[in-house]
């Protein structure tokens, strides 16, 4: 018994040390599930070229990605992280504390957030304040914030259809939700005088006002799986869903996007930033790993090549909205020179 225990312990120790000592020959990426489809597409092309192993891309969410990314330097920690928002100051500090001093920021393109419904439903044209009135937990009525009284769209504006307000959207853990709150709810909140006043007097209460969505059934948290929302919209023409543009792009035969402030969510409108609800997507690179883990520089070169993120590149086919020409050029130069982020 004792002998076999000792053997087992030795075996376990060898295995674990072999694991730790083994230098990695494969790039590891973590982070946002929104950027995941694009980073993986680049990873696949990069692997197909045959010089390096295909990078491993984990889908951990933006926040979870930064946590792993900032945990330290060395082969046990990821080299890149996907993010559907810019890195926060607190995250840069956390990184610095663990020795991750130099971080290269790469903006990869834009993602539009759409409010879509089944094609069987009537096309709808919304403004952001209307969306705020439909979705916020408390809305200004006669100078006061009250519990959201609207149950049908035409109560908000007689021009909108007489239809129950029913919107399916992502849960608070999702980056899409954060972006929607920032780009639609916060922006719209400032157009109401009552809330503007509140912003001056009580910043915290203002933040709470625009970031709390309804909990009375008009807004339904539908989970992180956007395909599920697509299926539900198809089955229920009265409902709307909030998700990334690529899902609308893939399901164009079933769904239509609502116009926001008079602009329809099309590829061109998002690319030219006419469509208001779009956000930049990022990939962050650990500079200390460049040269240690083989292939990082070449991977970045593939990502920033025109055939990947260009206007007609394969990432555009996957639903990424490319940056304008000049911005692409500038980003590519910055990333390939490994210019570190300054905060």
């Amino acid at each position: 018994m004792k002998k076999s225990l000792a053997v087992a312990a030795v075996a376990l120790a060898t295995v674990s040390f072999a694991g730790a000592a083994q230098a990695r020959d494969q790039i590891r990426v973590v982070g946002s599930s929104t950027v995941y489809p694009f980073t993986t597409a680049v990873a696949e092309q990069f692997g197909k070229a045959g010089k390096f192993k295909t990078p491993v891309v984990e889908s951990t969410g933006t926040g979870g990605g930064f946590k792993l990314f900032c945990a330290g330097v060395g082969p046990d920690h990821p080299d890149l992280t996907n993010a559907s928002r810019a890195i926060k100051k607190s995250e840069v500090e956390a990184c610095g504390k663990n020795g991750v001093a130099e971080i290269v920021e790469m903006k990869v393109g834009y993602d539009g957030i759409v409010l879509a419904s089944s094609k069987k439903a009537k096309h709808i044209d919304l403004t952001r304040p209307q969306m705020f009135l439909a979705l916020a937990k408390e809305v200004p009525v006669n100078g006061k914030l009250v519990e959201n009284p609207y149950t049908t769209w035409n109560q908000i504006d007689p021009k909108l259809p007489n239809q129950k307000i029913e919107v399916l959207g992502p849960p608070p853990t999702s980056g899409t939700r954060d972006a929607f709150i920032e780009l639609v709810m916060e922006h719209a909140a400032e157009s109401f005088p009552e809330l503007k006043e509140l912003k001056k007097t009580d910043e915290k209460a203002f933040k709470k006002a625009f970031s709390s969505l309804r909990e009375d059934g008009a807004f339904v948290e539908a989970g992180e799986n956007d395909n599920l929302i697509v299926q539900k919209l198809d089955a229920n023409p009265a409902a709307f869903g909030i998700f990334g543009y690529s899902y609308l792009d893939q399901n164009g035969d079933k769904l239509q996007g609502a116009m926001v402030d008079g602009v329809a969510p099309t590829f061109d409108a998002i690319a030219s930033s006419k469509y208001p609800v779009s956000r930049p997507l990022f990939v962050y690179v650990k500079k200390a790993h460049v040269g240690q883990i083989p292939g990082i520089k070449e991977y970045l070169a593939e990502y920033t090549s025109e055939k990947a993120w260009g206007k007609t590149g394969y990432l555009a086919d996957k639903g990424l909205i490319p940056m304008p020409d000049s911005e692409r050029k500038e980003q590519a130069a910055k990333v390939n020179a490994l210019e570190a982020l300054k905060m």
Partner: protein
């Protein structure tokens, strides 16, 4: 007279009571039948949706093209090409030429649309063809090439093929070309071998389950290697050797408790111990197997103890009475007799482990991994993780592939459960 009356009255009451009891029994039977029918109904709905969504994924649309392996397009020496040059030659260009030849009047910007009829991964089979037979260089061969995912979806009827409809994935021109190819008999659906031979891909028509199947195999092998000996040893000790006191009671309560702990907690444990403390690699089936072993261990211990409890004490007493030591009694009598029960428990525990994703998220196995793992140390996904990743992909063609992956997973689960039932049937002994 009076007596007879009471008898009649009481038999009336008896008949009434009897009727009531029968009625209660019928109600109970009806309820039980209803419950089973409901369960079967849900199962049928599940299977029908999965089958109707996923059966088409087992075939893949192919397009026949006359491919000319001309050395100039390939960029290799026409007389004596080196195998290195052949391996990295421009097969995509060859396909583009073939498409151009099939539709000579398409030009300019429309060319790009034309190229999308064929999968971007179609160049690999061409490479294998030419590498296997370099004599093809300079000749023209008719080859079936994998079609692009959008073409595949249109051919299978998952998206509309009516031209002029807004929101179509294929443009009207592409639909026209497709119809043209169909008229020439150059479009056909063939068995989807890719699904069973390759790893994950972001292009649905190139995505396969093989990487996940191998990953699941490695993980479950590790799980079995770790938890079967440990589980059996634990149950033998607790059942046959351990004294019955407060401590063993406490251990028993804890084991039963562990069997009910949510699996994601084991994932966190695995992250803390195997990754952070022992420094094992992320996303490796080795770690996945160890975590899954922690999850199935309680199940195996509980099943093992139950199986040993079912062995009659007379057998133990007979063995001891004939002078066997306690260890001999266990290895020669109790273990062989309880083995069917232990194995059944083990297989059920493994089947449970095969379906787990939540704990694997923590140790980095929910990831995009293309390369097929060669050892338990290589990064790898497992089957349920592949289902999860595909279900979340925006591409339409992944909907049917998700269902196909579920079918493969269900097939393995059914096989394991069937094995458990057969073992029990074959070796079970009743006393």
């Amino acid at each position: 007279m009076e007596n007879a009356a009471t008898v009649v009255a009481s038999s009336d009451a008896v008949a009434k009571r009897l009727k009531k009891r029968y009625a209660a029994e019928r109600r109970f039977k009806a309820l039980g039948f209803g419950a089973i029918a409901l369960a079967l109904g849900f199962l049928a709905i599940l299977l029908v949706t999965i089958l109707s969504n996923g059966l088409t994924a087992f075939v893949q649309t192919h397009v026949r093209l006359d491919v000319t392996f001309d050395a100039e397009t390939l960029g290799v020496d026409p007389v004596k090409p080196s195998s290195d040059a052949l391996a990295s030659a421009n097969y995509g260009g060859v396909i583009k030429n073939a498409l151009g030849k099939a539709f000579p009047d398409v030009s300019g910007g429309q060319r790009r649309q034309l190229y999308k009829l064929v999968s971007t991964g179609a160049d690999l089979p061409l490479r294998d063809m030419l590498m296997a037979n370099p004599g093809l260089l300079g000749t023209t061969t008719s080859v079936w090439l994998t079609a692009g995912a959008d073409v595949d979806m249109a051919m299978k009827g998952h998206v509309g093929r009516e031209p002029g409809v807004e929101g179509n994935r294929l443009t009207d021109a592409q639909l026209g070309w497709l119809a043209d190819l169909e008229k020439r008999g150059a479009v056909s659906k063939k068995f989807n071998t890719t699904l069973f031979t390759t790893g994950d891909s972001r292009e649905p028509e190139q995505a396969g389950l093989w990487g996940a199947v191998v990953g699941s195999f490695f993980s479950l092998s590790i799980t079995l290697l770790v938890c079967f000996p440990l589980g059996v040893a634990t149950s033998v000790y607790l059942e046959e050797f351990a004294p019955k006191n407060k401590w063993t009671d406490l251990i028993e309560v804890n084991i039963n408790n562990l069997a009910a702990v949510p699996s994601v907690v084991f994932g966190l444990l695995g992250l803390a111990i195997f990754l952070n403390f022992f420094g094992m690699p992320r996303s490796a089936p080795l770690v996945g197997g160890l975590v899954l072993a922690l999850i199935s261990l309680p199940t195996i211990i509980i099943a093992g103890r139950a199986a040993m409890k079912a062995v009659p004490p007379s057998i133990r007493e007979a063995a001891l009475g004939l002078g066997a030591s306690k260890l001999q009694m266990v290895t020669d009598h109790v273990l062989p007799l309880s083995m069917p029960g232990i194995l059944t428990g083990t297989i059920l525990g493994m089947a449970h482990a095969l379906g787990e994703t939540a704990p694997l998220l923590m140790i980095g196995m929910v990831a995009f991994i293309v390369d097929i793992p060669a050892s338990p140390m290589d990064p790898s996904a497992v089957l349920p993780v592949q289902v999860y990743l595909w279900a979340d992909s925006p591409e339409r063609a992944f909907v049917e592939r998700t269902s196909a992956a579920i079918m493969v997973l269900l097939f393995f689960l059914a096989m394991m459960n069937l094995a458990a039932i057969m073992l029990r049937k074959k070796f079970e002994r009743r006393w």
